[in-house]
Symmetry: C2
Subunit: 338 residues, 2 copies
DNA sequence: CTGTTAGCGCATTCAC
DNA sequence: GTGAATGCGCTAACAG
């Protein structure tokens, strides 16, 4: 199956390559007859334009980069699905890179992405990324960047998040309304935007309901190894919390395990709410209340906005950074009570 | 930040573009001094070669396509993680496409992939794909294709699977050894290779243990909507099965739900084993025995083999199809008993 | 050791 | 309406 190119088509039809090129793009300066002739042959010979030749010529790749910590995580997997659906609809292609939550990897990936391989990037920042200069560089190189979930607040690009503050507030209120007097907030990486705002929501709810909030009501558990011991310690205490609000999916299973080991029954003796996109968890665990982010929709929104921005740019307009500075697209997370 | 190219570097240094090009590639015909000079400037100016220009010239993209049904599924997500890790190590890039288990979509994706966008493809076939001519075409177009899990048996390319027959056999034996006399095998899409062999393993185990296997011991549940009613029907029957072996993760949660509704306790009244890569499930459900495929390793193996094949091809050797016809890489699935 | 030339496949001038 | 020439950024063949 010899690859057929424009020159090949031209030769077959005894016309010039440029005519073929124009015919394939429905140029108005080509006669209907030629267009039909060319297209018929192209179809017959299964002609496919070489994507990289066009990219080189037009300086436009129709490709985006997706940079996420991982994908074995329902949230990111679903966001990706959303992006992918919209990408296919718009004939964009998606290169995906995993940072494995590692700053150095994220840095080298973004550095490479300046090369012209992609038109734009959709990303969620690695959990141990604190310096954002590598992102700044990418933007400076003219690559459109869109953030979701773990966003770079300082950049004036589009950001897509759920309303972390409000969702956390509601989740906490939910605990309180079930009778909690001493809720515990377990979380990770509070320097990230999402966890930071969730913590704020938790605290505000406690204040609004006049709970005597103390320092040890919020605990940051970044290291997998310490989660169980720490929780065990806290829960076997006589004055243990009567409710837990987990900020991240990763922490949502530990309380069950520890409670089971300690003989604490849920939800009778301990209420529990967690951010989670794990379908299985809410299905299997009767007492589980989850705060679920609309991951698929976030992905779709991110892609739609990015493609729209890229198309405008193509038509020679200003890059949209200037038109929509710092667009913040916020969606509600739904609280599912099982 | 003006993009810098080879010509730019050449101009700065008053040497020719080809010298720069060679220096950057550590050509042995360039003096050490020039190489150093060039590299220093390249570093300083943050030069990045344009990937598509090189691809065009060398007819090699350093990019692979990953075509999978979905990624919101722990198995595929982990396979992808494995692929991605190896890809980064080898400086390959991964374009990912989701078929959403739709034959038409799979067909159009593969058709596009003939265009020269990728050097190779790693795929798992959509569940409703029965005709394989679109895959044949892709291979004919000179794209290396590697299958995993849901493989195309008829192609003489590398295939990576777990030993479905054997794993299913063992899982069934596990049920029988726990006292099952009437196991039920629930499965999906028996025209696929993986489910087909799992069914065979189930049946053989039943035979080897002299269970009087009947037609209704295997049931194919392709439609989400009928799963619950069908299971309910089966399980409320007086002569219901005393064990269930599920062939796919998607079906692994329904039995719990139905049993809970019917008041059947697991594992006392009903043993259960399922193929599953869902971490949460085995964590949360005490009675769950899972057959877990080494997804991450499958991904790594697929990528390693593919890259190895592509590198050989590059050096002008025969494409490896001829060297390793129909390489079948099989791995054990582990059975985890909780 | 280095420079000149050509061309990967395509789209866009500029001619006619 | 169509063809010839040019160049996207890079590498490789051919010269010295």
């Amino acid at each position: 199956m010899a690859k057929i190119d424009i020159k090949g088509l031209a030769r077959e039809l005894n016309i010039s390559a440029s005519t073929v090129s124009r015919a394939l793009r429905d140029s108005h300066e080509i006669s209907k007859a030629t267009i039909d002739k060319v297209k018929a042959l192209a179809e017959k010979l299964n002609y496919q334009p070489h994507p990289y030749a066009g990219s080189l010529r037009k300086n436009k790749t129709k490709t985006i980069g997706i940079v996420v910590p991982e994908v074995s995580n329902n949230f990111f997997a679903k966001v990706f699905s959303g992006i992918e659906v919209v990408a296919q609809e718009n004939n964009y292609h998606a290169l995906i890179y995993l940072t494995h939550d590692d700053y150095d990897k994220e840095k080298s990936i973004l550095h490479h992405l300046q090369s012209g391989r992609v038109d734009g990037v959709i990303m969620s920042i690695a959990s141990n990324t604190k310096d954002h200069s590598h992102i700044e560089e990418l933007i400076q190189a003219g690559i459109q960047v869109i953030f979701f979930d773990r966003i770079g607040e300082s950049f004036s690009t589009t950001k897509i998040t759920t309303d972390d503050y409000n969702s956390a507030y509601k989740a906490t209120v939910h605990l309180i309304e079930q009778g909690c007097k001493k809720p515990l907030h377990i979380t990770r990486f509070l320097h990230q935007t999402n966890t930071k705002y969730r913590k704020k929501g938790f605290i505000q709810a406690c204040k609004d309901y006049h709970l005597p909030i103390e320092d040890n009501w919020v605990i940051e558990l970044n290291d997998d190894a310490v989660v169980e011991p720490t929780l065990t310690n806290i829960l076997k205490n006589e004055y243990r919390p009567d409710g837990i609000f987990s900020s991240v999916e990763t922490l949502s299973l530990y309380p069950y395990k520890v409670c089971k080991e300690l003989g604490i029954t849920m939800p009778d003796q301990l209420k529990f709410v967690s951010f989670s996109n794990m379908d299985a968890a809410s299905f299997l665990v009767p007492a589980l209340t989850t705060v679920t982010q609309p991951a698929f929709e976030i992905g779709k929104a991110a892609a739609m906005v990015l493609f729209q921005q890229l198309e405008k740019k193509k038509r020679g307009m200003q890059p949209l950074d200037n038109v929509f500075p710092s667009t913040l697209i916020v969606r509600e997370s739904s609280i599912k009570n099982k």
